[in-house]
């Protein structure tokens, strides 16, 4: 056993942060240099990938029309703040809405048993996202976005499940749409860790919705830009 090597491999959070912060300078320079060419090649890459899969598949996986659009072009409205703080405040706003949505669904007692437990779990996780993002904005020296007041049509279990499925897919697409715009690798790592949880929620809810798909866009998830997402959630803000 190479103990010296192992010592090196033990994660040391503080050291990681320092490394990543240092790395960040190079990352920004790189971004500047790549500019829109990078975004264009991503689009080509995914389009090409979808095209090649269509020769071997016959299901939804082969739908090239659903290929992701360039994500780097979008930016969050200036009212959320600049840079990573702006992106975090945008995410915080969405998480607040998700948290309130689940709280209302849970209060309405529309789901029982295993589904009820999952819904409660997901609601709890959205609250954790709110707390984490709120803290991070403060830590970065920003002002956390104000909590919006959500209004959601809580009617039948079927309708609510469908809305939840839509909301979670939107959340996953929103995080994916921002990933390439985040400067700090630690904020990025955190956003990625939330992004896949939203995806897990969406996939779970898909099983409750007639016509729901675990992977509604096939092999490659589609990002949404901030304008699209904010327009979609507007009806749910009082």
């Amino acid at each position: 056993m190479p103990t010296e090597l192992e010592d090196d491999l033990i994660p040391q959070p503080r050291g990681i942060v320092e490394e990543l912060v240092r790395d960040d300078v190079g990352r920004k320079k790189f971004l500047k240099a790549v500019g829109t060419a990078g975004a264009a090649s991503f689009g080509a890459f995914v389009l090409a990938a979808c095209g090649s899969s269509s020769s071997t598949t016959t299901t939804k996986t082969s739908a090239p029309a659903k290929a992701p659009v360039t994500p780097a072009a979008s930016s969050v409205p200036a009212s959320f703040g600049a840079g990573d703080i702006g992106i975090l405040n945008y995410a915080l706003t969405l998480e607040y809405l998700e948290e309130q949505f689940y709280a209302k669904v849970i209060a309405a007692k529309l789901f029982t048993g295993a589904v009820g437990s999952l819904v409660a779990e997901f609601g709890q996780q959205e609250s954790e996202h709110v707390a984490a993002i709120h803290q991070t904005v403060l830590k970065l020296g920003g002002t956390p976005a104000a909590k919006p007041t959500g209004k959601f049509p809580i009617t039948t279990a079927a309708a609510v499940a469908k809305l939840a499925y839509t909301v979670e897919n939107l959340g996953a697409a929103a995080y994916l749409g921002q990933a390439a715009s985040i400067s700090s690798p630690t904020v990025l790592a955190a956003a990625l860790s939330i992004h896949t949880v939203e995806a897990r929620h969406a996939a779970t809810l898909a099983t409750l919705v007639p016509g729901g798909h675990v992977t509604p866009t096939g092999a490659f998830a589609t990002p949404d830009d901030a304008a699209t997402v904010l327009a979609a959630v507007k009806p749910f803000i009082a």
């Binding site: 190479p2 990681i16 954790e128 803290q135 990025l188 790592a189 896949t196 996939a203 998830a221």
Partner: protein, 208 residues
């Protein structure tokens, strides 16, 4: 776990999973080779010795996607899957194959050489064991991409990796529901893993 995370909610303290790009790949692969044997780690090591380029990270991902594709498209046919499990395995297999194609193309476009497809050995003979392993493998894929993502230099490749990892997460959740396990095994925040941690799980499934 949830309570613990709520007590320390600062995102900046979440573990990134790797240390630096170099240790993520090279040290990880070498240490894993020592523990799991050079055969198991070879496909990773071969791509990791240069160890500082996006291509190396893509090759690391490609090896995992080869593993998943083989698992769903070859192994799945031998374990008697029925119903929804068979349906999911079929769909997921096609999606993993699309990831292989996309990563191969991305590596070629970046001027790199895609790693050859390894030979795999999955120690499962029935549907239950298959699905249990599928749950492990998909969750592994999520943590591998989430660990590698912040190390990618190209934002375009990061976005592509993001669009793939979201699919792995969806697969993991769906398999979890099939076998009565939680769709969110690490609570509100998915865990990132470095290469050594990934190889601890994937290494034993690689024959050569």
């Amino acid at each position: 776990m949830n309570t613990e995370r709520l007590a320390h909610p600062e995102l900046v303290e979440l573990e990134v999973g790797g240390v630096t790009r170099a240790s993520f790949l090279v040290r990880g692969a070498v240490a894993a080779a020592a523990v799991y044997g050079t055969a198991a780690a070879a496909p990773f090591v071969s791509s990791a010795l240069g160890a500082t380029t996006d291509v190396d990270i893509l090759n690391f991902a490609l090896t995992l996607e080869y593993l998943e594709t083989d698992f769903y498209q070859v192994k799945a046919k031998t374990v008697g899957l029925t119903g929804l499990a068979a349906h999911d395995a079929s769909n997921f297999g096609m999606e993993e194959a699309a990831h292989v194609a996309a990563l191969t193309q991305a590596i070629n476009k970046s001027g790199g050489t895609p790693v050859p497809k390894p030979t795999f050995s999955f120690p499962v003979t029935d549907a239950k064991a298959f699905l249990d392993l599928a749950y492990i493998v998909e969750n592994l894929g999520v943590s591998a991409y989430n660990g590698a993502g912040p190390l990618l230099k190209s934002k375009a490749l990061l976005a592509a990796a993001g669009s793939i990892v979201q699919i792995e997460a969806r697969h993991a959740a769906a398999i979890g529901l099939l076998i009565g396990k939680t769709p969110t095994p690490s609570g509100g925040f998915d865990i990132a893993k470095n290469m050594t941690q990934v190889l601890a799980v994937a290494g034993p499934l690689i024959k050569k």
